[in-house]
Structures are given as structure tokens and as C-alpha cells.
Symmetry: C2
Subunit: 208 residues, 2 copies
């Protein structure tokens, strides 16, 4: 597992993989520099602190993913379906490196402080707003709180399979795995779209 590229890229690649594998706190800069075959002081030279290194690792992935999400949402036209919205949200993030970026993002999104300060406030506000608005348009009559809870369940399902991707086969007797990405996206989209629609039906029944 020898990383390629210049020193800075090797540090980023290795940090991403180890942060995803063992978590931020359980990964020392010595672990990273040893595997990346660079000097310990190079981290502080290129990134100043371990904290800033994590920011750099996150930003390198989250920016492009959110751009792809918005592009896919735009490409679906002015009135995307629930399925198109969910696909635009899920597909880009599941399409990043399975061995490194996927577990890392899973960890980040399930950690309240990291998520709030380093992802939500910096990278996620506009995406969140766009997808919320699109879902409200796609589900006329659905109360806003149902939409928000649905998006929360969506992020939860997505985050959990990313966080547990490495041990998925072990806890499902080999049935589930993250390798066949397109089929997983389709499966999740069907499951979640039905959940969103159930909230609308319930509302209509109660109102009528």
C-alpha cells in the first residue's frame, strides 16, 4: 500500500485512509508519516496542525461531491421526482473511494461536533437548502417536518452503510456489501422514496 505522488498528496491519501480505518483520534501523525513514507515534520510544514490536516482531507472530498450533487439535481430539470432527488443526493457520495473516503465520511457524519463544525456549516448549507426545496416541490401536500425527518432518515441510512462498509459482509453473513454501488443506490432510493411518499399519504388521509 505505497502511496504515490508528491509529499503533500501522499500525506492526504494516507491520512484519509487511516482516519477512515481507525478514526481521527486513534491515528497518530507518526502512523501517517510512516505509511506515507514521509518525514514527521512534513505534516506540520504542509498543513500546520493535525487538526488542519483533517480539514484538508475533508474539503478535498466534500467539495466535489456536493458539486456533483447539485449538477445532477440541475440536470434532472425544474421538477425532479423523489427518485431523481434521492439519486442525486446519494450517488455522488457513494462514488468516492470505498477503502478510504467512504469510511471516513461515514465517521465524520456520525460525529456531531465534526459534522456540525467542519461539514454542515462550511460545505453543506446550500446543498441542504436546495435538496430540501426540491423535495418539498416533489411532494406537494407533505408537511415540512415530515420532509425534514425523511431527509434525516436518508442521511442516516447513507451514513450508516458508509461507516460500517468494512464490516458489512461480516454482520450480514456475506449478503450485504458495498461493492456493487449502482444496485445499492437503486435499492436505497426505492426504500427511501417509499418512506417519503408514506408521509404524504398519511397526511392526505388525515386531512380528508
Amino acid at each position: 500500500m505505497i502511496e504515490s505522488g508528491d509529499t503533500k498528496t501522499r500525506i492526504l491519501d494516507t491520512a484519509e485512509r487511516l482516519f477512515g480505518l481507525k478514526g481521527y483520534e486513534n491515528t497518530s501523525l507518526r502512523d501517517i508519516t510512516a505509511e506515507a513514507q514521509v518525514n514527521l515534520a512534513a505534516v506540520n510544514y504542509h498543513f500546520h496542525t493535525k487538526d488542519a490536516l483533517l480539514d484538508a482531507v475533508i474539503a478535498r472530498r466534500v467539495g466535489p461531491v456536493n458539486k456533483r450533487r447539485l449538477d445532477m439535481l440541475d440536470a434532472a430539470g425544474p421538477d425532479p421526482t423523489v427518485e431523481q432527488i434521492l439519486t442525486a443526493f446519494l450517488e455522488p457520495v457513494l462514488d468516492i473511494g470505498l477503502e478510504s473516503a467512504v469510511p471516513l465520511v461515514g465517521r465524520i457524519l456520525s460525529s456531531p461536533d465534526l459534522f456540525l463544525d467542519r461539514v454542515y456549516k462550511r460545505h453543506f448549507l446550500v446543498v441542504s437548502e436546495r435538496f430540501r426545496a426540491a423535495m418539498i416541490r416533489a411532494l406537494p401536500g407533505a408537511p415540512v417536518d415530515s420532509i425534514l425527518w425523511g431527509l434525516l432518515f436518508t442521511v442516516g441510512a447513507m451514513t450508516h452503510m458508509m461507516a460500517l462498509s468494512r464490516i458489512l459482509p461480516e454482520i450480514t453473513a456475506g449478503v450485504c456489501s458495498m461493492t456493487d454501488r449502482p444496485s445499492i443506490v437503486a435499492r436505497a432510493v426505492d426504500f427511501l422514496a417509499a418512506g417519503f411518499r408514506a408521509a404524504v399519504h398519511k397526511e392526505l388521509i388525515c386531512a380528508g
Copy 2:
């Protein structure tokens, strides 16, 4: 925030709260003993290591929760509905302390190593098997992999709202919060049940 009870209980209560608030690695034994107003060495006397303290904190919650889950599943009779199964799975775990146990369990379940070694293998195998079997009975015709993915999405939705419970109002402009537990259970059950049923319908359509 002064904990009550004897030394051992005070340590357990404080550790649970701080592990949930900041995470295991970011909480030192000095943090715990200072807040619990006990001596540092008392931790090692009562629990031997920090690692074993975490096990004790987890076991104290997970055991009773899983017992209640199985009791509720049994109480639903020999052929529980999808909704009854999901309620039996979600309600007990959302009924533990909102300020301490809920965030902690959220963190544990989203951390692959902790989940696998300390929860799944020790406390979760029988529960997992019982709920899997019940769901297969409740959804005749559904392929097993759909059931397993559905349970994964269920655990993901549950885990995520527990892990982010503290910041939920902040990221939803005050719309979502974990305080009204019964309505959250009902909402999640409706959403997830629709997802499970969608997998069956899809299968029947393709087969027919």
C-alpha cells in the same frame, strides 16, 4: 450536574454522559473523576482499565434495551406486523436517557470496531436473528437481501438521530428534536415500514 449514588455508580453515570458528549477518546479519566467528584484511582479500582469502564457503561444499557425489545416482540404475538416489529426494535432504545445514553449509543453504533466487538458479538446476535426472522415472516415473498438492507437502513436512521440528537434543532431550524419520543417512534416506523413494503411490491411486479 452533580451525580448521586455510590462511587461506582457516579463513575458510570459520568462516564456515560461524557463519552456520549465528547466521545471515548476525547474523554480522559481525569475529566470523569473530576466531574463525578471521585478520586482518579477509584476508576482503576472499580473497573481496572478505561477500556473495561467503557464495556461496563455499554453493558448497563444494552442488556436491558435488548431484553425489552424481545419482550415487546413476544408480546406482539406469533405473527407481528412490520409496524409492530419496527416499534419493538426502536422504542426501547429511544427510551433511554436523552442527555447521556442516547448520544453514547449513537456514537458506539456508528463506530465500526466498537460496534462489532463490543455490541454486535456480545449483545446483538440473538436480537438480530429474532428480528430478521420476524421480518421475513411478516413480508412473505420478500427476498432476504432486501430484508437485510432494510434492517441496515433502519439501524442507520435510528443511529443517526441518536448520534446527532444534541444538534438536531440546530441543523433543522428548530423543526426536529428528540424530545417527543412517542411521535418520533411513530414517524420512523411509518417511514421505514413503507420502505420495507416497497421491496416486496417491486419483487412481485418483477416476478409477475
